[in-house]
Symmetry: C2
């Protein structure tokens, strides 16, 4: 077997911890460092902090410059925030240490349209240092973009693509229920939408990734964020949603070429959502009508895909990449414990 790939884990929050728990069980990876600026994590053993119930012999360091040193590791798994503007200095530091980067930053999934200057800067820096950097995750990164693209492989003349994800948040963490507006009034919900605090970050990025691959230039993009209002009481472990209150969010992005709608992404996350699923409908020759029944359960999937990307990022050409640029990503079971 080839030498183990040395990983640094930048960010040990909810997703970062899940990544560490998975990485700790993989035979192809060797965890050599960890960074987190949170005061209550610094100095702790990474294994214990991530909930592994065993020590990994790697301390969490609050100073990235101590961990991110050339030759120190092969790849950084970065998982701190959704905003590319905020995490760009962190990514830059990883690149300057000559390390490939897999990040779960949602806006990094397709940054060229929303952050063109930053994207160019990261790309140039990555090329200078001969490393690759990619943003991934289950959504954005897979179910509403990469998977949909993969399904067009046997098609010609793709005319329109509709991607739907329905998540029953009752089965998920309280944070997800809260940030999708559970139990708010419709008015409160709309205020939070106006403030930008209710919004799934990454839906636009998924659309842009699909558009870039399939259609090229778009003429118009429309977005909407609406409440899912409970027509009868809905309940989770954490919330009682009475009739007329908000059970969750329904977010839609559509893209047009001329007057023709070519892409529609529809995401519903609500307590008690009916028929949870991931679906892709492709109007093409031949048509493709795909559904993943129950949907891809999100909490562990982002962690898994981040790790599954590692071998593909290591072999990729240098630069800032998107998921469509990587060789096929899959879960090589044989490397697991």
């Amino acid at each position: 077997m080839a030498a183990r790939i040395r990983t640094v884990h930048y960010g040990v929050g909810a997703i970062g911890s899940e990544i560490v728990r998975l990485a700790g069980a993989r035979k192809d990876l060797k965890i050599v460092g960890a960074v987190d600026i949170a005061q209550d994590r610094a100095g702790k053993d990474l294994g214990l902090a991530a909930g592994l119930e065993r020590r990994l012999g790697v301390s969490i360091n609050a100073r990235p410059e101590t961990v991110l040193v050339p030759e120190g590791a092969d790849v950084v798994i970065h998982s701190t925030r959704s905003s590319l503007t905020r995490v760009a200095p962190e990514l830059q530091r990883c690149i300057e240490a000559d390390m490939d980067v897999v990040s779960t930053c949602e806006e990094l999934a397709y940054p060229w349209a929303s952050h063109p200057r930053l994207a160019r800067k990261l790309d140039e820096l990555a090329r200078q240092h001969a490393v690759s950097i990619v943003g991934t995750g289950v959504n954005p990164g897979f179910v509403m973009d990469t998977l949909a693209l993969a399904l067009t492989a046997p098609c010609q003349n793709v005319r329109r693509i509709r991607i739907t994800r329905v998540v029953d948040s009752a089965l998920r963490r309280i944070q997800l229920q809260r940030k999708t507006g559970a139990s708010l009034t419709v008015e409160e919900f709309r205020e939070k939408v106006a403030l930008g605090t209710i919004r799934h970050v990454g839906l636009r990025e998924s659309m842009l990734l699909v558009a870039d691959a399939l259609f090229g230039r778009l003429t118009r993009i429309e977005e909407s964020i609406e409440p899912v209002v409970a027509a009868k009481p809905r309940r989770s472990q954490f919330f009682e949603v009475v009739t007329g209150k908000v059970a969750g969010v329904h977010q839609v992005v559509t893209a047009f070429v001329g007057d023709k709608e070519v892409i529609r992404l529809e995401l519903e996350i609500s307590i008690g959502a009916e028929d949870p699923r991931d679906a892709v409908l492709i109007e093409a020759d031949p048509d493709i009508d795909m559904v993943i029944r129950g949907g891809v359960f999100g909490d562990t999937a982002t962690a898994a895909i981040a790790l599954n990307c590692i071998p593909r990022v290591l072999q990729a050409a240098p630069g800032l990449l998107s998921m469509k640029d990587l060789a096929l990503v899959y879960n090589a079971r044989r490397y697991e414990g």
Copy 2:
């Protein structure tokens, strides 16, 4: 837009003709040559021979050595036969002309296990000539292998994978109905299975591709080919299948690690098959339960995926590759007419 990719079409049978019809409509491709040894095709205009209803200004040449010359084209789309042993000299000639190769030869989808020496030879030759060669198609090449691998991207701990394809052959060409045993008696069917004339070539290759990616070494492989017997009359445009006669074929390949079944591929092709679909069931964390309702219609899909692979093969590292080695394959609609 980048310079057009120059293609040579090697084989102008049913699939080869479909490929030519699609290629003729693509703005990113320029057809520069065609080879077919069939006497009734040689000398004809490729467009007319392929059923395009317009001339392409390219004659079909019976002598490959005339068409396959260095600098003559960028890539050969090869579509002649299923048997790798038979087509190897053709592929070799393409490689020796310094051309990348996309082939629909079923056994080329994963040749390392069944034809290890030939695979090594083609790989070495391809590296010497700095070209890439890959076998693809809808099946093998996509629905029962690459797509299943792609679906493991958000998973960890893949324990078992079941892939099912059900095709209602009543909607397909008479050749497919005939070669899957339509209207035979069970005894006649079994004789043809024993002779090797009823068998979907590529099911084993799909399994081996999945196994190589996910599990590594297998301990046992089982294969079966059984008739689908009509319990009531079934009918297509070409056949009346009376009760008790054969409507089609049910072929299964299973793979084991130790005593544990880890992969099961099940293919039914029959007149009047119920619930035609492509389904993938992955036991992992999380589970994935995917279905493509109606299934991916095969006749045009193989042609489409062959063309959609071209940009990925051109950018791939030299050597003999499988679909899991290519960057994500998708249908770039913007290059179509």
